[in-house]
Amino acid sequence: MKFDEVAAGQYPLPVYEPYKSTRLRGPLQAPLRVDAPTATTNAIQFSPALVTPIDADLTAHGSAAPLGEKIVVTGRVTDEDGQPVRDSLIEVWQCNSAGRYFHSRDQHDAPLDPNFFGFGKFLTRHDGRYRFVTIKPAAYPWGNHPNAWRPAHIHFSLFGNVYAQRLVTQMYFPGDPLHALDPIFNSVPDANARQALVARFSIEESVGDVMLGYVFDIVLRGRDATPFDH
């Protein structure tokens, strides 16, 4: 598999002043373009035992239903050629419907939900599709600047089929007025690249009286995959 150079503006700026934590943590030197056949061609394998069906239903991890709006999120993972990234691990994590993470370091004064922990994992199917059920996360304050509130989002961690396809990103919800004010969202210079992080509401994916549906398609780096890559 080969990896073209990423177009300007597609990735966030490593040091983006409005996002404070980047100032001392963003590498100052551009990444070095190198040939590394091992990193770009060796397939990563996942044991089928790694995921169980309940891992893809974040509302089923407590002893009762969690509070909040139940939703389903689905989408297709492809490479830059549009080829499906199949049998590949995705991990997700998020805060609850009150804006609180189940995490020892989250000090936001919002309630934990004893029936919601906010993390899951699943494999993409043969066509690159994934689907999971969760609770719509809320916005929460984060102290980056006065009145700093993160827009509602779900973190996605994708492994792809080869090591160099790795990606961690965040999925946002449509119509959120906080997008324009969020330094993390806006650390991506290209407007289209930012908008591609916003899921699309889908009445087709919505399920009867149970939950609304959102679609978030993901394109990982890589072209010219060999049959062994996926």
């Binding site: 073209d4 150079e5 990423v6 597609q10 990735y11 966030p12 700026l13 490593p14 983006y16 996002y19 934590s21 980047t22 100032r23 001392l24 943590r25 590498p27 100052l28 030197q29 990444p31 373009r33 190198v34 040939d35 590394a36 091992t38 990193a39 770009t40 990563i44 394998q45 996942f46 044991s47 790694l50 490479d79 830059e80 050629d81 691990l89 991990e91 997700v92 994590w93 995490h103 370091r105 906010g118 993390f119 994992k121 973190h155 961690s157 090591y163 790795r166 990606l167 961690v168 990103t169 965040q170 993390i184 969202f185 991506v188 290209d190 289209n192 930012r194 992080l197 394109v219 990982l220």
Partner: protein
């Protein structure tokens, strides 16, 4: 074929740990043949240790030896309160000449995109013939070489900024 635009990256933020804990646990259950130890500290541009980074190690040479793991040849560890990490990869599978001891991926709050790097061992006879290392400017190669501290034990720090900034890769 129409080329698709890639999905952009976003920081992992401070809270990936619970989602990723399944793999931390796998990493801490050290196998009897886990003989190589590589440890170090992750530093920011002010020289402060980073206590909320997560590092992933990929050791493709061990994929067959580790066939029973959930993700063979893959390990993941969070940095601790002192910014320190420790990997104990299987040492029994010989690497191809010039391959790094670990391919590494770094994530942290304030790091907007994962950073790929790699670490070589200073007493590996093939280091200077590594096709990967030879693509790194001479002056920066030392940032990728772990020093030996004891038999089978090595130390290697990661610097996100400063003059000694670790070399990060963009694979092609």
């Amino acid at each position: 074929m129409q080329r698709r635009s890639i999905t952009s990256s976003q920081t992992v933020g401070p809270f990936p740990h619970e989602s990723w804990r399944w793999s931390f646990e796998a990493a801490s259950a050290s196998a009897p043949d886990s003989q190589l130890i590589i440890r170090g500290t992750v530093y920011d541009g002010a020289g402060q240790p980073i206590d909320d980074a997560v590092l992933e190690a990929w050791t493709p040479a061990t994929a067959i030896a580790e066939g029973t793991r959930a993700v063979p040849a893959f390990r993941r560890v969070p940095t601790d309160a002192r910014g320190q990490f420790r990997f104990a990869p299987t040492a029994s599978a010989p690497r191809d000449a010039g391959e790094p001891a670990l391919y590494l991926t770094l994530f942290a709050r304030g790091v907007v995109k994962h950073q790929f790097t790699a670490v070589f061992l200073e007493d590996d006879a093939n280091v200077m013939h590594s096709s990967l290392l030879q693509q790194v400017p001479q002056a920066r190669r030392a940032t990728l070489i772990a020093r030996k501290t004891a038999p089978r034990e090595y130390e290697w720090d990661i610097w996100l900024q400063t003059d000694g900034e670790t070399v990060f890769f963009d694979y092609r």
